[in-house]
């Protein structure tokens, strides 16, 4: 492949330097970097070589790939995406079977120590990973083989980051996130079900510009995108503050666009950029469409009870359980009373006996 610099590639596509600078400024803001970094980003992007990216998959639904590659019209971001060297991606690539396997091994060998390893879907750990296999090998094996020579690992989507939907109880395949398996490589978690495409772009731009991953929080998520909760950026926040809540999906409050807290919105405990960056190029996001946040960028979001139980509530006991507990209490109390009655009647009897036998005499 011709080793053109990114700046040359852009020029070929008639993307001016000015446009690149504008893009760099936007990315600096997106990455929560100081505006003065824009020039450095532009400079470094222009000089960047095409970065090798190997994309392997675990137990995934392909939604993460769809979100990232599906765009309504070519955008500069998608062009940038085009200028990484996506050396292996089982859905997008033309090759299949043994040819695909060969491509993977050759790409990894050719870029040894330099490629970014992107993964979507969770890993199956149970029973040696037999529940998720590609080409006769478990994806767990494949990951271990190729993680060793990667520069860094991008865990794309909640499944790759934390285990996601396959990990939901009872977790029959032993699904796990990448970080549960790999401990000795820098990992970026880009959660979301699916994640916002601009987040991946930002991570890549950061890597291309500065040769390293952006600042991460303790859950290894890029701080710039996952540093605040949906609640903190939500446009419906004034309604929350005023106590105006929709009680059902078609009541007056819902029609007025009131806060969806009581309909189960998990916005306050979910960190992502949905409320600010939004989806489909900033068109909308679930709350704007009238449905509460599912918390899909958080670990185990599928196992936190109903999506429609508000955070103020929980999984309290049902009436049957309460009846059983009352019955248990009644049994314990009755037993205690019986014990007390026994000791009292024994005493009453002995007092009565004493009274009868000792009447008229002293002590």
């Amino acid at each position: 492949m011709p080793e053109r610099m990114l700046g040359e590639e852009l020029a070929l596509h008639k993307i001016s330097r000015r446009k690149l600078l504008k893009f760099a400024t936007a990315m600096a803001a997106s990455l929560a970097l100081h505006p003065s970094m824009a020039a450095a980003i532009a400079e470094n992007l222009a000089k960047a070589r095409r970065q090798s990216v190997i994309w392997i998959s675990g137990q995934e639904c392909t939604g993460c790939l769809e979100t990232i590659t599906r765009s309504a019209s070519p955008t500069l971001e998608s062009l940038i995406f085009d200028f990484i060297s996506l050396d292996y991606q089982s859905v997008l690539m033309a090759a299949a079977g043994e040819a695909a396997d060969r491509t993977l091994r050759e790409a990894a060998a050719a870029n040894k120590g330099n490629y970014l390893l992107a993964i979507d879907g969770s890993l199956s750990i149970k029973d040696g990973g037999v529940y998720s296999m590609t080409g006769g090998r478990s994806d767990l094996q494949i990951l271990r083989e190729f993680a060793g020579n990667a520069k860094a690992i991008l865990a794309i989507g909640t499944c790759a980051a934390y285990g996601g939907i396959p990990k939901a109880a009872p977790n029959p395949t032993g699904a796990a996130g990448i970080e549960d398996v790999i401990g000795d490589k820098p990992i970026v978690n880009i959660p979301g079900c699916p994640p916002i495409p601009e987040v991946l772009t930002g991570v890549l731009v950061n890597f291309l510009s500065f040769g390293r991953l952006p600042d991460l929080d303790e859950q290894k998520r890029p701080l710039a995108y996952f540093g605040t909760t949906i609640h903190d950026q939500c446009y419906r926040r004034p309604f929350y503050d005023q106590g105006k809540f929709a009680k059902s999906f078609d009541d007056e409050g819902a029609r007025q666009g009131w806060c969806l807290f009581e309909l189960g919105c998990k916005g306050p405990i979910t960190q992502n950029a949905c409320a600010s960056l939004k989806w489909n190029g900033g068109t909308s996001f679930p709350i704007q469409s009238g449905h509460g946040c599912l918390g899909c960028a958080e670990p185990d979001f599928w196992d936190k009870g109903s999506f429609y139980t508000s955070l103020a509530g929980g999984q309290g006991p049902g009436w049957k359980d309460i009846a059983i507990a009352s019955g248990a209490g009644l049994a314990a109390g009755t037993a205690a009373a019986i014990a007390a009655r026994r000791s009292r009647s024994a005493i009453d009897q002995s007092i009565e006996h004493e009274r009868k036998t000792k009447s008229g005499t002293e002590t």
């Binding site: 185990d300 936190k304 309290g316 309460i322 009352s326 209490g329």
Partner: protein, 219 residues
């Protein structure tokens, strides 16, 4: 499982069961003790004791006039935080939502600002009550672990609720978890200490009211 998952899940589940089971235990253990029939001729017979029991439940809410000046401070402090707690629990929007999800009953909550004011008042009064309990000679003599634990376990939900509603520090999830856990702690302790007076106040006043009505005595 995060702390919030624990709070909204097993903690909430078991604390409600312990609260209800524990209270039923305590009440049945008391009511099933051997009862002695009263053979004395009543002054107020027949159904009078029933009226006495019910009316005393309400009349004891206000002390006799002769006691007012000596009980004013304690009485007003007590009412202040009890009413405050009631307003917060029954009027706070989040609490109305909890009750609705548990029982299906719901009503219009009070505005957030009113709840904030009442919460501030309630918290302040509870602190004053705690200080008073530590300083007043009678209260200091009477008070044991139960008294202080009950006060602290009542103060924490109010305090953590204020911190949560104001989204003061840390993450929403952590504040919410701590608030829910403070309530579950209160619920777990309630049946076993003096907080069970939530139930026994009715039985105490009722028993005295019934007995005194039987005697025709002043209640």
């Amino acid at each position: 499982m995060t702390l919030l998952d624990f709070a909204r899940g097993p903690a909430l589940y078991w604390s409600v069961l312990i609260l209800i089971g524990g209270l039923v235990w305590r009440l049945s253990g008391v009511l099933f003790l051997p009862f002695q029939r009263n053979l004395a001729t009543p002054r107020g017979g027949g159904i009078e004791p029933v009226y006495g029991a019910i009316s005393t439940i309400f009349s004891r809410m206000l002390p006799h006039r002769e006691f007012w000046h000596r009980t004013a401070v304690g009485g007003m402090l007590g009412y202040a935080f009890h009413i405050g707690l009631l307003v917060i629990v029954v009027g706070g929007a989040a609490h109305v939502a909890v009750i609705k999800s548990a029982t299906g009953l719901s009503w219009t909550p009070l505005p957030k600002g009113i709840i904030a004011l009442v919460s501030g008042m309630t918290f302040t009064v509870l602190i004053i009550v705690l200080i008073r309990r530590l300083m007043h000679p009678v209260l200091r003599l009477l008070s044991n672990f139960d008294d202080y634990a009950s006060l602290v376990l009542t103060i924490f939900p109010v305090l953590t609720g204020i911190l949560l509603a104001g989204e003061t520090f840390g993450s929403f999830g952590l504040l919410l978890a701590i608030h829910i856990l403070s309530v579950t702690a209160l619920m777990i302790w309630l049946p076993f200490g003096k907080l069970a007076h939530t139930v026994f106040v009715f039985f105490g006043r009722g028993a005295l009211g019934a007995n005194f009505a039987r005697k025709g005595a002043a209640k």
